[in-house]
């Protein structure tokens, strides 16, 4: 039986290779993602263990609030006065205080623009010169800066920008732009690119000045005397310093931790890629299922014959299973190899976006091989299981039937019931995920599972839905081409279950695309409306990358310009309001109460603009929805933990509704409190309003000139520009998701190709007959192509409907977060048109094969 299965595989190369392609693509994504992740992780470990190799013990400021995607990097640093205290600890050979700051500086090109991708990209990091053995740098050319107007820059940046020693490089920071002489080109740590980040080394005083950390350090490093172990020294230093202020760790611990921080950031990418790999595997499963279903149906007579000569149903089952496993194994092995190619493609895409991922080869860990093989073989096995069982039901009698035996079709009651239950449970889970109020991760998981069940359910129910959809979609085609159109439409109905599974693969892609489209559109509209309502000023100043902070000197500078009524700075920092859930930190805004309402309109729930005037030094304004969720009321006194571990008390004086968190997400405090107690050295944004009657263009030009000269990392945007930027950013994210969905969509099209090719084989005699009664090759091609289009469109239409459905549900669920509905009509129409085109493309090859069928084939018996 084994021999037979393998022989069957060898003779049916076509169906084998298309199935294999389905497995291969999914496995390649899984294996590639794991390889990339291993490679990047290993590189980061190397970079940081070498960069920290000379450090026995590191002292850093304690960070009470973890920065992350939603909370800004804190500006908490160590006072210089700690340096002698560390030096005085017994067993310390020498110490070094240094700056390492990733949020403040920007290297500029000759036009005064930030180098690298225009929308920001990887950070520019300011560091200070350190003596041996502490310095993480080695020099390819030149050496460290010796004067305040000199810098050294890492070799990757230097190469990218074509820097040469001795040239002048403008760099901006907290205090405006300066020109520096390039005196060194360096390697950091083990010398692999740090995710595209640029590293600039200044003298210590200059590093402190440019990051507004005069009199402060980000780290104090210590070298141990001979005979003192790093662990021992760490404990001694710890004992000597105030524990509330500092975090003391050995060089190894720091290396691990620094590396881990970046790896954690990167693991998001790994998970994202794995999710899309999962989607691809899922879609591939439909293709495999369909291929096996069709071939089992076509081989009915073969199975019946095997039964007549004495094969047991178990033997028939194992023949199909062995075939599946053999394909799964082969394809998985090739898929692991193709994973390396997938990594290349990914790296190329990231490279285009300006992110250089560090790499140390492509390590093939045993774990990667095991997971990839398991994914490939299990998905094949599961997908082939139902068709395999169906093969066992073939009775010996069917071998004798003339017509090869048509599969008993679509609407067995049990199948319908199971499919309905799956769909209902799926929808219930999606709704539970959306409205269940559990945390984000769990909600996503529940929704994902719900979607999988829903997709299965609809695929199984689809057989019933095919007829009306085929009629609806086929009608216009039939009007265009009466004969071939009608035949194409009728052909999709021959085996509705098969058409349904084929189009289901496309349905999944379409549903996800439409869902993302809906969310993106809603997000764009929500932010746009909120901007309209809340931002009443003339321009707002942000960092060019859209999220990093900007110099605190911008607001006073712009405020002094002629024609400017006021420039109101907003600061932001992470904090934790006492009484809110542990581990859930808040973004705290700092307001300039005197000028805020010049450029912003607050949606007061409790209080008025007059409340603002009354804010004082210790007043707070809360976001009404957040306050309600956290049982905070006007009149309460709240305590907020700052990043440096202090606690700030404030009285809640009013509450405003801010659905998209433009001005306040949880709590807003006076900006002075943020600067003093939260150590925010920079501003998040500045809202500018012009004098009444001032000429917009004139004042705007003045603002632009000031920024371009002194603070090129910031830019002023009008309301419309803000909306456009926001739209662009959302479109960028949506586009990235589309790119990741590409594999799944391609695979679903391969599924259409696959089904049609197998169908063409099945209908050879009929195709020959059509040619005999006068059909031209073109007509035969048309017929197959339209069948492809109809199949694709069924998937696209159902998928679009599902996408709109879950999109609507998600937007409703997130209404409290400020999402408002906006139907992306143009996008939806584009999805449908592109699906039709994809159907045409998928039909090309099967159509060509079909048109090659000769009339003779209609005359022949077999």
């Amino acid at each position: 039986m084994l021999r037979l299965a393998l022989r069957g595989l060898a003779t049916h190369k076509l169906r084998g290779s298309l199935t294999a392609l389905a497995i291969l693509l999914g496995v390649a994504m899984v294996a590639g993602t794991l390889m990339l992740s291993d490679s990047v992780n290993r590189s980061f470990d190397d970079i940081f263990s070498e960069a920290n190799a000379g450090i026995d013990v590191s002292v850093r400021a304690k960070q009470e609030i973890d920065a992350g995607f939603d909370l800004p990097e804190s500006g908490v640093a160590l006072p210089e006065s700690l340096l002698p205290e560390v030096e005085a600890v017994d067993g310390v050979k020498q110490v070094s205080g240094s700056i390492g700051d990733a949020t403040t500086i920007a290297i500029l090109d000759e036009n005064g623009e930030r180098i690298g991708p225009p929308q920001g990209g990887p950070p520019h990091i300011a560091t200070s010169v350190e003596p041996e053995p502490f310095t993480p740098y080695t020099y390819i050319e030149g050496g460290p800066p010796a004067a305040d107007d000199q810098v050294s820059i890492d070799s990757f940046t230097a190469e990218e920008e074509g820097y040469e020693l001795g040239q002048s490089v403008p760099i901006t920071g907290a205090e405006g732009v300066r020109d520096y002489e390039l005196v060194g080109i360096s390697r950091f740590g083990s010398g692999v690119p740090l995710g595209g980040a640029s590293l600039v080394e200044f003298t210590l005083p200059e590093a402190q000045r440019i990051t507004a950390k005069q009199g402060e350090f980000d780290q104090i490093a210590a070298e141990a005397d001979d005979g003192v172990s790093p662990d021992e020294l760490r404990d001694r230093i710890k004992a000597a310093l105030p524990p509330k202020l500092v975090e003391v760790r050995t060089g190894d611990e720091i290396a691990t931790e620094d590396s881990q921080d970046i790896k954690d950031g990167f693991s998001f990418l790994t998970i994202l890629l794995l999710v899309f790999a999962g989607i691809t595997v899922f879609v591939g499963g439909f293709l495999i299922f369909n291929t096996f279903s069709i071939t089992v149906a076509q081989r009915t007579r073969e199975f019946g014959m095997l039964r007549t000569i004495g094969a047991s149903s178990r033997q028939v089952l194992s023949a199909v299973i062995v075939e599946a496993l053999a394909i799964g194994l082969l394809a998985s092995i090739v898929g692991i190899g193709a994973g390396a190619g997938f990594v290349k493609v990914l790296l190329a895409i990231f490279g285009l976006l300006g992110f250089e991922l560090p790499q140390s080869g492509l390590p093939l860990e045993p774990r990667t091989v095991v997971i990839a093989l398991a994914v490939g073989m299990l998905s094949t096995l599961l997908s082939a299981a139902i068709p395999a069982v169906r093969a066992t039901r073939v009775s010996p009698l069917e071998a004798l039937r003339e017509d090869g035996g048509k599969p008993a079709e679509a609407g067995s009651r049990r199948r319908s019931i199971i499919a309905t239950v799956l769909s209902v449970v799926g929808i219930a889970l999606i709704l539970l995920g959306l409205f269940g109020g559990s945390d984000f991760g769990a909600a996503l998981g529940t929704m994902g599972l719900g979607l999988v069940l829903l997709f299965f359910g609809i695929a199984a129910l689809g057989g019933k839905a095919v007829a009306p959809f085929a009629a609806g979609i086929g009608r216009p085609i039939q009007r265009l081409r009466p004969v071939t159109g009608q035949l194409a439409r009728e052909n999709t109905l021959r085996n509705p279950a098969r058409t349904a599974t084929t189009s289901s693969a496309l349905m999944i892609g379409a549903a996800l695309v439409v869902f993302v489209l809906m969310l993106g559109s809603a997000l764009t509209k929500s932010v746009g409306e909120a901007l309209d309502k809340t931002f009443t000023g003339d321009v707002a100043i942000f960092n060019v990358d859209g999220f990093s902070p900007i110099s605190a000197r911008i607001a006073p500078g712009v405020g002094d310009l002629e024609g400017v009524q006021s420039a109101s700075p907003l600061a932001a920092a992470g904090g934790h309001v006492e009484g809110t859930p542990e581990g859930e930190d808040q973004l705290i805004y700092g307001w300039d109460a005197a000028t805020l309402t010049d450029a912003a309109e607050l949606d007061w729930v409790d209080g008025s603009d007059a409340t603002l005037a009354d804010l004082g030094d210790d007043g707070a304004i809360v976001e009404s929805k957040w306050a309600e969720d956290n049982d905070v009321a006007v009149g309460d006194t709240i305590s907020v933990l700052t990043p440096s571990g202090e606690t700030v008390g404030a009285e809640v004086k009013g509450s405003v509704r801010d659905r998209v968190s433009l001005l306040v997400e949880s709590v807003a405090l006076p900006i002075a409190t943020l600067r003093d107690d939260f150590v925010t050295r920079q501003d998040a944004l500045v809202l500018v309003s012009f004098d009444e009657g001032a000429d917009f263009d004139t004042v705007r030009t003045e603002v632009d000139d000031l920024l371009a000269t002194d603070f090129p990392q910031a830019e002023a945007s009008s309301q419309q520009q803000l909306k456009d930027d926001n739209k662009e950013a959302i479109q960028g994210a949506v586009f990235l998701i589309y790119v990741l969905l590409t594999m799944a969509v391609i695979l679903s099209l391969v599924g259409v190709v696959n089904t049609l090719v197998l169908t063409v084989l099945e209908r050879k005699r009929e195709l020959g007959m059509l040619r005999a009664i006068g059909a031209s090759k073109r007509q035969v091609r048309q017929m197959v192509r339209y069948e492809s289009v109809i199949t694709a469109m069924i998937g696209a239409v159902i998928g679009t409907a599902i996408g709109i459905g879950i999109g609507l549900a998600a937007i409703t669920a997130l209404a409290d977060e400020g999402l408002v509905l906006s139907i992306p009509f143009a996008g939806l129409i584009a999805v449908l048109i592109l699906s039709a085109l994809a159907g045409v493309v998928a039909g090309i090859w099967p159509a060509r094969r079909a048109s090659r069928v000769e009339v003779m084939e209609a005359l022949q018996y077999e």
Binding site: P482, V483, A772, I773, G774, K777, A858
Partner: protein, 252 residues
């Protein structure tokens, strides 16, 4: 045999609907080469039902395939209404099938997703025309399926399906209908009905039909029987009745 039906080496006779000269087909090469058809000259005048008979391997199917342009000869030429079939490209062949040819297959080969009348109208529609309703009604009447016009092939018996196939072959009023073992898959009652209809088309519309069969009883419906043996014409004559056909075949 009339003088007019004598083949002339130069070309087809003026009144022949289908004709061939020196038509030969060799399969394989060198030692293993087999001459399925070894140079045949024939003319088929209008309004005749001709049966090509012969044992398996006699070349009867090859002859039909070559006459109908389904296969290319290794030597010789074939014409349909004066058009040289053997010289046509795919496009020309498609055009010829639309205008001049009808086919009836052993396995009916109807389009399963179309009703009886849609199947009948299909060749006309494929050619880009609409079938004349009166003509369609007449065809349905002729094959006795007026009351089953909306049934799909799976709802029809084998004999009924083959009757649909005959109506389909006649729908475009072709110059000639080729039938390949048209009763090979039918019981004797259905066979008789199918052959009566074919006979009726020949007598009623002056339709030319060329039929391949190995069954003398089927051949007895023909005006003329051509017996092939080893790729050559062994007998070619007008017949009347089954016995004569059997005798003819037995002589060989």
């Amino acid at each position: 045999m009339e003088a007019a039906t004598q083949p002339t080496p130069a070309g087809p006779q003026a009144d022949a609907i289908v004709a061939c000269r020196g038509l030969a087909r060799r399969y394989g090469e060198g030692e293993a080469a087999v001459d399925a058809l070894a140079g045949v000259d024939l003319d088929f005048p209008r309004g005749e039902l001709t049966a090509i008979v012969g044992p398996s391997g006699s070349g009867k199917s090859t002859l039909m395939h070559l006459l109908a342009g389904l296969d290319k000869p290794t030597a010789g030429k074939a014409w349909i209404e004066g058009i040289e079939v053997t010289g046509l490209d795919d496009k020309g062949m498609t055009e010829l099938r639309r205008r001049k040819l009808g086919f009836i297959f052993q396995f009916f080969n109807l389009v399963p997703v179309l009703s009886a009348e849609e199947n009948i109208a299909l060749p006309v529609r494929i050619a880009g025309d609409e079938i004349d309703p009166a003509w369609l009604a007449q065809l349905l009447e002729m094959v006795g399926l007026t009351d089953r016009r909306t049934h799909r092939p799976s709802e029809l018996s084998g004999g009924q399906q083959q009757r649909v196939a005959i109506a389909r072959a006649l729908a475009s009023r072709p110059a000639v209908v080729f039938a390949d073992e048209p009763t090979g898959n039918l019981d004797s009652n259905s066979s008789a009905a199918v052959l009566d209809i074919l006979r009726g088309a020949v007598d009623g519309f002056d339709q030319t039909v060329v039929m391949v069969t190995h069954d003398p009883r089927v051949a007895s419906y023909a005006n003329r029987v051509i017996v092939l043996a080893d790729g050559s014409v062994a007998a070619d004559q007008q017949v009347a009745g089954e016995d004569e056909v059997i005798r003819l075949m037995r002589e060989l």
